[in-house]
Symmetry: C2
Subunit: 436 residues, 2 copies
């Protein structure tokens, strides 16, 4: 039986999972590829820590060149994350004619435009299933069997840390800060959780999904990115009263040549399947012009699921190698020259329903003033709750709007916040309840 | 740009969808394949009905040889369904060196063992994503990115007709017969609904999933197949009381070299994501040794979603052709010689929890007699409901058991049904509430 030799850069949690999977299921993989897939070299600066796996002597090296420049290695797996030196390593692997498998969403979201043409020039594959949704085989599905569709929406719960926090806030009525602290103690959140909590990780993943689904380049910095740190248990409670749950959603939409790409806390109806995606699970939902709505659900992170996605990509490339093909599909699924650059819709132009929460002094006439200001900006009210009356003191007033334009919402809230009766900055949360 | 010519056999609903998709998204498909994919010929006995689509003159033919024997056609799509003449057409296409795409689960479940080696001998691909779950790209995922996993379970809601009926029974408390009648009027059920209602269609799909997930041949006739016609609104109501929903599930499990493959109404906890799959939607859930649990959800039937899956397979093959490869992957994903023949576990040996419903005359001591008989067969009771007391008349007694063996359940019920106090044949429904 033939042998395909691969190299791994980065022997952390995911790298260890990949090495374990390649050992544990070597026979199965050989049966599916028609060749032995062997991990020849692993490069990591730390060559001493015991990862709980036995490797043939000489496998582990601190010299990345042992992977990148070994002519026997045909596939390089990059799992160190971040921009540099990951980018240099990936480009060097490509220039040496090696296929690349990576889980590095940050790198691809920001530097894909440099990496993809380099891979095209060398005729090698760059695959990155593990970059979105952990083990969930969602990128392969866009590139593969769903490829005949024009997609109109792609939505997802893509960050396990945020979803874990929002789930516990929803189930226990707990506050953000308290749940974050427990999440950090349990290892579900990093010591510095900014990338997760503020939506940056989700935005990296959305950039990839939008590029793949709509065949367009995306300016990562133009993606509206809002995290969950300002969500209060009050908002979650009111959402429930109106039949909604709050999730951090990555939202991509295409209408003609206009694309929306945004990450923000979103209210979705409790009876949406997405609303039941709890804890560290991820889900991604597409609408295509022929397939209709389709959803994928599974573990969005962790050593084993992510290793499944990485090795799945290796198997794809190994089958090509055995079939004598170098490159069967471009990284975004489209011929490189067919990838366009569509404009992102400015957030002010977004239309939808909104949840508005005001803190107002409980005096006659306050509601008339608020609804008057909303009306001035063409915002009409679908329903309203005022909970806990307390004459002369501040009480929350919650309003659900009909379809409105975001720039009107912002202008109305700015005006309302100047009213003397308003005691706190007013808040809004976008609602997504009209999915085809 | 190169051109890849394909032929279609069967111009019914799905065939029309395929022709429409290939026309509507021709540019998109060309961008993804790097070649024009052209539908050169369509064979159907009915060449007169208006399908609402304009075809180039000479495309439609009543002579199947115009598709099967045209040397310019490299991919044949078979959409006539059934065993014959579908099987002869598929084998003739293969023998003429053409790749085959089919949605015909009945054909593959029963005659795959004849078709797959023929395709291997000719070095062509046989793809069948549309055979399971309509547009949901589940077979591609097993063959593709999830390939590194040893699967332990595959479960699915695979028949839209049954799921529509059970959903309406659950939501409205309606009876099976009434809902079936409406379903037939609405076109959700066939005039002769036996194949759907009695679980045969689901069993065909399960046979394919089990073969793909566990790499084994399956004797279709050995699959335990039970439909939904005996489910009463009383059972659905009791299920709700205990926190369950009733779904027609296809269940495949592998433990070592033993495989379970069975189709039957199943109670699942209401908080399982599968329990929220309602109406004509389908869902398939896997557990793999590395990926963990993963679920796919979408439209399981219909013209457009099924066309998406068929054309997705065509794109896969077209990319191979452009790359100069004939066959990149065997139909079951494993090298043909690696496919095994594992034994199916006899139903009597299945272990699980059970819902038992007795009709018993409401007299002191009846429960003691029933629980005594259960105890004799080593069946212990988790909980019990006796609703609506009516001294001396027949009332339902419902018992949920702990883990028990099916042969013991059957023996106990047979004994209990001989009691004078039992007025109707006792019923049981299997429970699935212990999914990893």
């Amino acid at each position: 039986m033939k042998e395909i030799k691969i190299g791994l850069i980065g022997f952390g949690t995911i790298g260890t999972g990949v090495a374990k999977l390649l050992q544990a299921n070597a026979g199965l993989i050989a049966d599916k590829v028609g060749a032995m897939v062997t991990l020849k070299k692993i490069a990591d600066l730390d060559v001493t820590t015991d990862r709980g796996i036995e490797l043939p002597p000489g496998t582990l090296t601190s010299n990345v060149a042992d992977v990148l420049d070994d002519p026997e290695i045909s596939v390089v797996i990059e799992l160190i994350g971040g921009y540099e030196p990951a980018k240099s390593f990936v480009l060097r692997a490509i220039n040496n004619g090696k296929h690349v498998v990576t889980a590095n969403k940050a790198l691809l979201a920001l530097h894909g435009e440099e990496i993809y043409p380099a891979a095209a020039a060398k005729g090698v594959q760059v695959l990155f299933e593990a970059a979105v949704g952990g083990g969930i085989p969602v990128i392969s599905a866009i590139l593969g069997n769903m490829a005949a569709n024009n997609f109109t929406t792609v939505l997802g719960i893509l960050n396990g840390t945020c979803n874990y926090i929002l789930t516990r806030m929803t189930q226990e009525g707990a506050d953000f800060g308290d749940v974050l602290k427990t999440a950090q103690e349990l290892g579900y959140a990093e010591a510095d959780p900014t990338f997760d909590i503020e939506g940056v990780d989700t935005a990296h993943k959305l950039a990839l999904l939008v590029s793949l689904c709509f065949g367009t380049k995306v300016d990562f910095n133009a993606i509206h990115t809002e995290g969950i740190s300002s969500i209060s248990s009050a908002d979650i409670g009111f959402a429930r009263d109106f039949g909604y749950k709050i999730k951090l959603l990555a939202i991509g939409k295409r209408t003609g040549d206009t694309v929306e790409a945004r990450v923000h806390p979103t209210m979705i109806p409790v009876n949406y399947p997405l609303a039941d995606v709890d804890g560290v699970f991820n889900a991604i939902r597409f609408t295509g012009d022929f397939i209709g709505p389709v959803m994928f659900y599974g573990r969005g992170a962790g050593m084993d699921p992510t290793a499944s996605a990485v090795v799945g990509d290796v198997i794809e490339i190994a089958r090509n190698i055995i079939a004598g093909v170098s490159r069967r599909c471009a990284p975004l699924g489209y011929r490189d020259e067919a990838v366009t650059t569509l404009a992102l819709k400015p957030m002010g132009e977004i239309e939808g329903k909104y949840y508005l929460r005001f803190s107002a002094v409980d005096k006659p006439g306050v509601l008339a003033k608020i609804s008057g200001a909303l009306g001035k900006y063409d915002i009409s009210i679908e329903s309203m709750i005022q909970k806990g009356r307390s004459a002369g003191e501040s009480v929350p007033i919650v309003i659900m709007t009909h379809e409105a334009r975001e720039k009107d919402i912002r202008a109305a809230l700015e005006e309302i916040d100047t009213f003397e009766l308003i005691s706190e900055k007013s808040r809004f949360i976008r609602i997504e309840d009209n999915l085809e």
